[in-house]
């Protein structure tokens, strides 16, 4: 009869730090931590030695100083006496503006191209794959510069609109395409215009409410209300009626040629258009591929089953294919929106005053505060990236497959 005995308890030996799995991970982490601390200390030491040698310090005081440069494209009040912080804020708003516009337009381009690429029409689908391949395989910087060149070198100058026999005319008498940008009419808010705006907002809410009501009715009773024309009616009619009731309070400020340039209206500068259009058409090509993949990921049986139930093609798309395709499309779409936001930093190549051009360009060069400026710049983009992915992830959660 043998008696099993526990092996004698070993006392702790130094080699167990490397050979015993209980201690090994702690050893490695300690080494990693040590290495990290040494590396950071080394870099920080170099940084402070170098800064001291050049008589510099880390200070954010420059943000309060007058910027001393002008910004053409701006959403808020700004002049050259405003502070650097204000210039950065103008840049931030410009970044958000172009990113927002480009996200919308890229989605439109992408969805259209992606759907058309699946078309039965051979010519159209080939044309769309041509678009996708061309735009995906050429750097976005080149696209931005090319479109900027079209805007500045090919479009007529404002003076071409002058005279009895002008070389260029305004589109519909209200839109002017010039090499400095596009001039569009600006709304004039007269007295009572707020009522019209309020009506418009209310009717947007009304459209959503109607659609929700119709959906609930469909799910509960099976009765299908028409969706298309009532939505359009709710969207347009009250606002138009209110517009005339209040005596047409909203007018249009049409741009007019005065002096060397157009006056009045809204000017959308050439850099903004180049950046907006290039980012959307470039990213649109990527989105098109995701849309195509998403639609193809829905198995054919789903479409066939829906048709067998007697749904007509539009409803098959809306009720069966799209909800399933969206699950595949949305995650890459999030990262494309992020890419647009990050790629908008290429604004510096065409002189659009986004945050990279103001804080990371002119302010950095004028003040010489390289470290502070670049750190602030990175911080801004990090915040933007993290918030976009947070918002989109919440949306993503609402459309994911609900499984038991």
């Amino acid at each position: 009869m043998t008696i099993m005995t526990d092996p004698p308890r070993e006392s702790f030996r130094l080699s167990m730090l490397l050979n015993d799995t209980r201690y090994r991970s702690i050893t490695f982490q300690a080494i990693a931590l040590l290495a990290l601390i040494v590396a950071i200390a080394y870099l920080a030491n170099n940084l402070f030695t170098n800064l001291a040698a050049q008589g510099l310090n880390i200070s954010y005081g420059f943000l309060g100083d007058p910027a001393g440069y002008d910004i053409n494209q701006r959403l808020i009040e700004y002049d050259s006496q405003s502070s650097n912080a204000r210039a950065a804020l103008v840049g931030i708003l410009n970044t958000l503006l172009v990113a927002f516009l480009a996200c919308i337009m890229a989605t439109v381009f992408g969805v259209i191209a992606g759907v058309l690429r699946l078309s039965n029409n051979w010519l159209v689908s080939k044309l769309m794959s041509f678009y996708v391949e061309i735009f995906r395989n050429i750097p976005v910087l080149i696209w931005i510069i090319i479109i900027f060149t079209i805007m500045t070198a090919v479009m007529p100058a404002p003076r071409a609109f002058r005279g009895d026999e002008p070389e260029a005319t305004m589109l519909l008498g209200a839109f002017a395409f010039t090499n400095r940008g596009i001039y569009i009419p600006a709304p004039i808010w007269g007295p009572g215009s707020m009522v019209v705006v309020a009506t418009f907002i209310a009717s947007v809410v009304g459209v959503f409410a109607y659609r929700r009501y119709a959906k609930n009715l469909l799910y509960q009773t099976g009765r299908l209300l028409p969706m298309g024309w009532p939505s359009l009616a709710i969207f347009f009619v009250p606002t138009i009626v209110m517009f005339f009731i209040m005596g047409r309070p909203i007018g249009l400020d049409i741009p007019e040629l005065g002096g060397f340039n157009f006056r009045g209206g809204i000017q959308i500068g050439a850099p903004l258009i180049a950046l907006w259009f290039a980012l959307s058409i470039y990213t649109g090509a990527f989105i098109a591929e995701n849309v195509r993949a998403g639609i193809q990921a829905v198995s054919k049986g789903q479409t066939e089953a829906a048709s067998a139930l007697g749904l007509h093609p539009g409803r098959v798309m809306n009720l069966v294919v799209l909800p399933q395709a969206l699950r595949v499309i949305i995650p890459p779409l999030i990262s494309h929106y992020l890419n647009i936001t990050k790629n908008s930093s290429l604004a510096i190549a065409v002189g659009y005053a986004d945050i990279t051009a103001t804080l990371g360009g002119i302010t950095l060069n004028q003040t010489g505060r390289a470290i502070e400026c670049v750190l602030l710049l990175m911080l801004f983009y990090l915040v933007i990236s993290l918030s976009i992915s947070a918002i989109m992830n919440v949306y993503n959660k609402t459309v994911t497959l609900k499984e038991r």
């Binding site: 870099l43 170099n46 170098n50 078309s119 039965n120 029409n121 010519l123 710049l377």
Partner: protein, 432 residues
């Protein structure tokens, strides 16, 4: 009755009719056009719109392309030759081709060196890209970085040879000890290489570059499309191993290491490449010891490598996550330790899954190398925007130059993406 019918009914055929072609609408091009272009009214409208669009595109570009002028020496001469007709001025390409490809400072008598390096790149890349080729060719791939460095930068032969000797010493030590413990082999190898480099560095005289057989070319003289290629190839090949390490670190069960990797990856992925290039151009010099001068090319390589390694790490993480759990469990049940299991079982499969993703990152990275023109390095785009369009001879030649740049990038990127698709099909056959 039947008998008479049989003989009297002369209208019954006795021989078969010869085959006739189907009606034009049911076969051949007409059928194809009907089915693919004019199936429904909506489809026909689409076709007509597409045809009109193609007509616009061709009507705009064909006269310009076909009427191109190739042999003048300035834009004004071009315009004289064209005499008001529509036509491209491709002369700028023929006259400035060297600058577009090699930059404007690289000595023109040395152009053969980077050109040879490019040709050898294909030889070195082939066994990596096409795994049917003999494995022996990989030896040349391993030697290629040193050869390419020597060809492009020139200077003292001792530098690349010493670097090579250090790597060989490190590898020998690694293969001697790795059977015992991976950590011992790995760190021993690194230590051996460092020792060889430091000792050997003492042997290379201070002014070796001046008396070298191959003229030394400083990094700031590199430019043109060559710079894009060099940045792309160097950064991708450096960032793949770094990306593997980051991906493994992110999957690690050690919280500290995991969080270091997560923060690094998320931070790099959250900021645009331009800000990282700003770091390279204005900030990174502050982090090096005061007496050292690290040139801009190296600083840019460091930042772009960090950038792409974060993206490659995410791709490889996907590959690691896609491996069935059984593979990990199988490795554990064989009694392999972490290093062995990762090296022999997990990574080969995970990398195979992630190859298409890595290639996509590589294409994106190659396109992003044009961004260095923003920090005033003269790559292809920088050359066009800077010296060439600013010269009095060629100010105003936009389309030809940007078209050429677009064409170069398209050829390379489309080639790589076609390769990636071929690889995907090729890899799909053996595990499905």
């Amino acid at each position: 009755m039947t008998d008479t019918n049989q003989h009297s009914a002369s209208f019954v055929r006795t021989e078969t009719i010869p085959e006739r072609a189907p009606p034009v609408t049911a076969s051949g091009p007409v059928k194809w056009v009907r089915e693919n272009l004019f199936a429904t009214p909506a489809n026909s409208v689409l076709t007509i719109i597409a045809l009109y669009f193609i007509y616009l595109l061709l009507a705009g570009s064909l006269p310009w392309l076909l009427n191109g002028v190739w042999t003048t020496s300035s834009l004004s001469e071009c315009r004289e030759v064209l005499g008001g007709a529509v036509g491209a001025c491709f002369s700028v390409l023929t006259e400035r081709l060297n600058q577009l490809l090699f930059g404007f400072q690289y000595p023109s008598e040395l152009y053969w060196r980077p050109a040879l390096a490019l040709v050898l790149l294909f030889v070195a890349g082939a066994p990596v890209l096409f795994f049917d080729l003999p494995r022996k060719l990989l030896i040349f791939t391993a030697l290629y970085p040193f050869i390419a460095y020597y060809l492009i930068w020139g200077g003292a032969l001792g530098v690349p040879v010493l670097a090579l000797v250090g790597c060989v010493a490190g590898y020998l030590v690694y293969s001697r000890f790795v059977a015992g413990s991976f950590a011992k082999g790995f760190f021993g190898g690194i230590a051996a290489a460092l020792i060889v480099w430091n000792l050997g560095g003492l042997l290379i005289p201070e002014n070796a570059n001046d008396t070298a057989m191959m003229t030394a070319v400083p990094s700031r003289d590199l430019g043109g499309f060559m710079l894009n290629m060099m940045l792309g190839v160097t950064c991708v090949s450096l960032s793949v191993p770094l990306g593997i390490v980051l991906a493994l670190g992110r999957q690690s069960s050690m919280p500290l290491i995991k969080w270091i990797c997560v923060i690094f990856i998320e931070f790099i992925r959250g900021v645009p490449l331009i800000t990282l290039l700003f770091v390279a151009s204005v900030m990174l010099a502050y982090f090096f010891p005061p007496e050292s001068t690290v040139d801009l090319f190296l600083r840019v390589v460091i930042m772009i490598t960090m950038f792409s390694s974060a993206y490659i790490a995410e791709v490889i993480r996907g590959g690691l996550a896609a491996l069935p759990k059984g593979q990990y469990e199988g490795a554990d049940s064989l009694g392999l330790d972490y290093a062995q299991a990762t090296r022999l079982i997990i990574l080969p499969q995970a990398l195979k899954i992630s190859i298409p993703g890595i290639v996509n990152v590589a294409v994106g990275l190659f396109k992003d190398t044009t961004l260095v023109s923003v920090i005033s390095m003269f790559d292809l785009v920088g050359m066009i925007r800077g010296p060439i369009l600013a010269s009095t001879d060629w100010a105003g030649v936009y389309w030809e130059l940007y078209g050429f740049a677009a064409l170069l990038f398209f050829v390379v990127c489309y080639g790589i993406s076609q390769y990636s698709q071929w690889l995907e099909r090729r890899l799909a056959t053996d595990h499905r």
